[in-house]
Subunit: 148 residues, 2 copies
């Protein structure tokens, strides 16, 4: 559904949002290591998010990426829009050029419901909601969970 790149983006932003209270910037090295994502690749992605205004960054010593005041209030949809574009929510399941109520593929109806549910979820869920889940210990961004 969403690209791997876009998953990285969401995880990156949520990671920054988790650190928000600490007020300090986070270097790409730390983010990448923590999330187990290739550093330079994640760097590119974060840069794109900065360009789109979703997060902020500062160069130089003590610089890094950071969640700005609006970051946590953004719905996930905006990150998807920034990275993959919203087109991914309209793609035909069977790969036809277009798929709509006028000229549906045989799976259109079955998956339209589902597709809409996903879209709604991305519209409704905010970065802050994911942060809350993680802070409650209900989920995690990486696989390094405690073994005991």
């Amino acid at each position: 559904m969403i690209s791997k790149t876009c998953g990285y983006a969401i995880r990156g932003v949520v990671f920054l949002a988790l650190e928000k209270n600490s007020k300090k910037k986070v270097g790409i090295h730390e983010i990448a290591e923590e999330l187990q994502i290739p550093k330079h690749f994640l760097g590119k992605i974060m840069q794109e998010l900065v360009r789109k205004g979703i997060i902020g960054s500062i160069k130089g010593p003590n610089g890094g990426f950071f969640a700005n005041s609006r970051t946590v209030h953004r719905p996930l949809k905006e990150i998807v829009e920034a990275i993959d574009g919203l087109g991914i929510f309209n793609k035909c399941f069977l790969g036809r050029d277009e798929c709509n109520a006028n000229n549906p593929c045989p799976l259109h109806d079955e998956f339209d419901t589902c597709r809409n549910a996903i879209f709604k979820t991305f519209e409704n869920l905010k970065i802050a909601d994911l942060v809350t889940k993680i802070e409650k210990g209900e989920s995690s961004l990486n696989m390094n969970y405690e073994l005991f």
Copy 2:
């Protein structure tokens, strides 16, 4: 979700199933032209489906691909399994290596429901069901619909 290749596979099989009553084999040229899918590429895909026993083929004059007696009764899941593998139904939405109830990502629960719904649909829907929809004129495999 499923790959473009897999969408081609489903459309190819359904196309054959539609022609089943005519009892004649269908050449890859015709299938590809009708469905607007690159000919040689679709050929490869159909060959794979023949190897997996989902459809049949015969070489030589008047040869071609055809739906065998079991084809129409197969659930879509089997085509997905043959082309993409069932792993696609368990991929983490955020691209983490694994994602399960033990160590879920913050989107796991939201999408697990949806993922299961999709999987169920693929398990329940049979090739014959798609054929019926198309025969009823409710949907189509290509974009060449009548304009008036």
